[in-house]
Every structure is written in C-alpha cells, then in structure tokens.
Subunit: 342 residues, 2 copies
Amino acid sequence: MDRTARHSETRYGNRPTMKDVAARAGVGLKTVSRVVNSEPGVTPDTERRVQEAIDALGFRRNDSARVLRKGRTASIGLVLEDLADPFYGPLSRAVEEVARAHGALLINGSSAEDPEREQELVLALCARRVDGLIVIPAGDDHRYLEPEIKAGIATVFVDRPAGHVDVDMVLSDSFGGAREGVAHLIAHGHRRIGFIGDQPRIHTATERLRGYHAAMRDAGITVEDGWVSLGSTEPERVRAAAEEMLSGPEPVTALFAGNNRVTVTAVRVIAERERPVALVGFDDIELADLLGITVISQDAAAVGRTAAEHLFRRLDGAEHAPARVELPTTLIPRGSGELPPA
Amino acid sequence: MDRTARHSETRYGNRPTMKDVAARAGVGLKTVSRVVNSEPGVTPDTERRVQEAIDALGFRRNDSARVLRKGRTASIGLVLEDLADPFYGPLSRAVEEVARAHGALLINGSSAEDPEREQELVLALCARRVDGLIVIPAGDDHRYLEPEIKAGIATVFVDRPAGHVDVDMVLSDSFGGAREGVAHLIAHGHRRIGFIGDQPRIHTATERLRGYHAAMRDAGITVEDGWVSLGSTEPERVRAAAEEMLSGPEPVTALFAGNNRVTVTAVRVIAERERPVALVGFDDIELADLLGITVISQDAAAVGRTAAEHLFRRLDGAEHAPARVELPTTLIPRGSGELPPA
DNA sequence: CATCCTCTTGACAACGTTGTCCAGGGCCTA
DNA sequence: TAGGCCCTGGACAACGTTGTCAAGAGGATG
C-alpha cells in the first residue's frame, strides 16, 4: 500500500487517461483517441458522449505518450548565448513565431558562452528528441553532434559557423559589415581608428576584426599596436581598453565597437570625455537613434526567421546539401560615425 | 514493406535503443538502464562493456519514454507576453537559471498579449506534462487551468494576478511605484502631469494609473480630462496621446509613462519638442542613464528568480496556501524627472 | 558441508497513447 | 431473402523506458 501511495504521488496527480474517459463514456479506448484527434469515423452521438466524459473528467491528452508512439515531438530546441541579451530576444521570438506556424513548441537554453554548457544543453534537447535544433554555438568543435544528426535531428547553426560538422548555417556578414563601418569612419577623415571586440575564439569577433583590417588596408593605413583589443565584453574590460586607446600622445580619433555590449560601454566612456570621439558599433541598439549612434545593423529577427524556416524545410523533407546563408548588414548613420577627427 | 519503410521514416531515424545496446554488449536490458542512470550494482567490467556499446552505437536515452514511465518531465513552461521585449529577456533568463539549478529545461512561449493564444499555449504545455508553469497572463479568466492545477501542475502567476483561480503570484508594486514616481514629479513643482499607459484590461496598467491618481489626490490636485490616456503601446498611439497632452493652451508640464515601451516613445516625442518636458517612466531601459531618463525600476531578473524559486518549492512538496508576493520598485533619478515645469 | 547472506543480473509488466486489424450491424442491391 | 458493402467501434500490440521481483553465483559462517 505504501508502494501504491508513493506511486500515485510521482504520477501526474492521477490524471484521467483515455481509458478512464472510455470507461465513463462507455466506449472503447480507440474511439476516445479518435475523438481527441478529430479522426473521422465517429458518429456525432458517440462523439458527444465522449466529449462530455472528457470535460467531466478534465482529461488532457498526455503528449509524452503520444510522442513516444508517434516519434515526433513537435518541438524544437534553441540554444543561444544569453536570452537576456537584447540581440537574442527578437531572434528567439522570431524562431518561436515560425515554430508556432508549424505547430511546434520552442525549448530555450542559454549557454552563457560556455562550450561545455552548450554541449550539455544540446544533448539534453536531443534526449528529449526535439525534432530540430537551432544553435548559436559557444564552442568550436561540434563533432559530438554527429550521431544526433545522423539519427535525424535537423540542425541549423546561427550567427557563427559549426566546427567540424557539416550542417546548415545562417550567418550575418560580419566581415562586410565591419569593413563598411570602418570605411565609413575613414571616409570621414579618420586614420587612427580603434577596434574593440569580443573574445577571439568567437567567430564573429575575428570576422569583424578581419573586416577592420581589410578596410584599413584598402585605405593604405597601417594598424598600430594598441589599436586593436579583443577580449571579454565585460564593461570593465571594455572601458579599460577604450580609455587606453583614447589616452596617450597619439590617441585614436574613432572607435569601432565589435558588438552591442561593447558599443554600450564605449558610448559611456565617450560621454565622459571632453573631446568628441567618433563611434560606429556593430549591432543596433534601442534608443541609438536618440543618442545619435551610428551602427552596422543586422536584423536579429530576420536571422532567427531564416534559420527557423530552413529548419522546418528540412523537417518537411528537404534533402539538399547543407547550405550556408549569409545575411547582409546595413549601415545606419546617426551622427556618431560622421564626426570628424578631433 | 511499404508500411515498414514509412514506419522507420517517422521514427527517430532508427535510433538505437537500450535493447540494441543490450544486444551488442551481451547483457540484459535493465543492466543498460542501470549504467545509463548511474545506478549502483553493476560490476566495473560490465559497465565498461555497456559503455562501449553505447559509444559505438551513438545511443542517447529517449527521455520521452523515460518521462512516460517516471511521470516527471523535468521541464517547466514559461508563458509571457513577448520574448523580444527587453523586460522579459532578463526575466526569462532568470527563470532559466533557476530551472537549470534544478535540472529542468525551460519551454518558452509568447502570448502576444492575446488571451486566446495564452490559453492555447498553456494547455499545450500542460499536455506536455510540464512539471510547472510560470504565466504572465494576457487574459483575466484562468478557470481553464483548474483541472490542470488539481492534477498537480504547479503554477505561479507573474506580473499580473490570475483571474478566478487561487495560485501563487509574484507581482511588482505597480501602485506604489507609480505613486512614488508621480509624487516625485509633484515634488519638483509639477501640477499638470500626464499619464500614458497600457490597455486598461492589463492589471499593471490600472494599478499604475491608480498610483497616479493617489499621488495626485495626496497633493490635492484635480486630474483634468485629457491628462490620462490608456490604450495600446504602439508608438503611433502613444505619440498621438503625448502630442495631444503637450499641445493646446494649457499643456501638461510632465509625463508619467506607464511602461518601457511608452517611455521609449515619450522620449522620442519630447526630444522633438522645443520646451523641456519632465518625464518619469515605469521600467528601466538600457542606456537610460546616458539619456538622463528618470525611471521607476523593477528588477525583472529578481521577479523571474522569485517566481521560479516559488515554483520549485512547490514542486519539492511545499503545501502552504497560495501566496502573493509583491516586490518593491526603486526610483532612479537621472535628470528627466527632476526638470522643473517649463 | 549446509545454510544464509550479499551482490549482480535479467525477465517482465507497466506508463498512456496510436496504428493495425477485425467484427458486427445496418443498408443496399439483385 | 441472401449476399455484399460500408460504416462504426473495439481488442491488441507496440513505442522505449523504469520499477519490481526473483534467480543464480559466490562468499562467509555455523
């Protein structure tokens, strides 16, 4: 009896099952299933009786069992870096909208830029047998995904490429965007331009740096030591880097910020200074228009939507070779990038 | 044969099961289960053989089946208004962190402020048998949740109270916060103060309006027609409302914005004006410090964390009566709220 | 050497649903 | 009225896992 008690406790509080509904309605199990799934072949009268029993008992189909039987979970997993980051909110929402249109739910996880946590999350999602995965990778080796992909979990990588595994990817044109932004500063007379970016193991960080170098090279400018700083995007680190670049006998006259978090801190540092400093940031920011911040904008929602649409095309049976989509960026001049050198 | 083919197609791409692992390792099914779950009572040698088979086959436990058997999904659902809203990103992330600490995954859904969609989402989550639910309600009648709650799905409502159902709630002190913000404007000499808020069917909107009225009454100010505007937070609507209040022979000299979206638009409108207008906004905004916007801040992360902790306390067996927690807000003066009447 | 105990292992049922297949009843047609 | 067909409904197995229980091996103890 103790056993029985403990049993019912772990269960879903003794929820009614189709069997209970069938008993109450005086019909067979399968008939209930038919009603619940709106399958044809049930007389209106029977259907009514079953429906009444369902309402009376508060029955709700157990999708766990359904999933086990059907093999599809109608859910997809999204692993990103930080749901609290204003770049990922809209991305996530866009993925959700597409998922919703396909009748799927979204399971969300933040890797906090930790490769181990990324793997842990991804594998947990695979164990749940999500139908598909959208991953913004933190690590650079994703061979652990091979058995999963082989087993049929559709996968799309976003924002950064996958490491050592051949999958669909949706990226932004980090290189081209950064190059355009830096060229924009050069066009406004700057030659001493600082670059502050994210950690070098992050693909977008190095791509943007590559864009910076390309633009400088195009203009025949030699990048000096101390003009480039990659590392964590913690405000303290960015602040220190910016202040160093802006000090000394020959300070930079403009800054290029490698992502939204860097931009925010850079704006603060510049606001405290007497001499104006030009600034272009990668990623748009809310209220940047009011602050007059020139940015390279990438459409987070479009990225998410594109990735999700790719994913569902795969789930609907598309078999072509893994594709790599690159979305363009847009330069939005708002003032800070058009300041002349001080 | 056709049948077989179609069958294997719908399945998880013929993933190996414990049975396959057992066959390969030459052991019984249950022994594999024991190894997979790190249960005691397996010789190191047997364990090694099983582990090898697992690696060779790329086996991953099917959590759907596990859930069916165990009755717990180790996942919780979070239904909010819009994941893309900067207020909900941090909230969601905080919930996720707590869930993670309890070994649970987070399933996320946006209601888009549509009661029907809220219900649809919540019930879908219940069908998945999430262990618990955190809901930021869009509607005001949640009786549809009764069978679910009775069946044992722990539920916490956040930000707005539940309608006609007795559950735990975690709210912010909307009334007190708004009252303090408006009193702050009054203390700086304003008497003609406009209030622009969200739709009146949203609880926080009416609570904040109540706070506004209380502060005005405390100061002996009679609120005039045209000083209060509730409705959608679409920029166009807010803009029109703000412009109307700021025009005419006797315009308001200060605005109180009912939430972050309203604040953003209000800032834009005010920036276009010649005469300065004081502003206090409910909810903090990124970069508000640089723009000098005085706000009533509620800690979204704290709200999410508190709600999630309540939820897991329930899941761990807490049986006390449903509680209602109200978190305090903070006034952060940054300039816009301290401007004198023009 | 018999007995008991412990430790490892596996057989089996059950979780709640859906797919398959069959039975029975009603209706139409010849 | 017999034969055939269609329509509705139900019995049963299967999905992949875990809990229960029992059996067998091996060691310790009398």
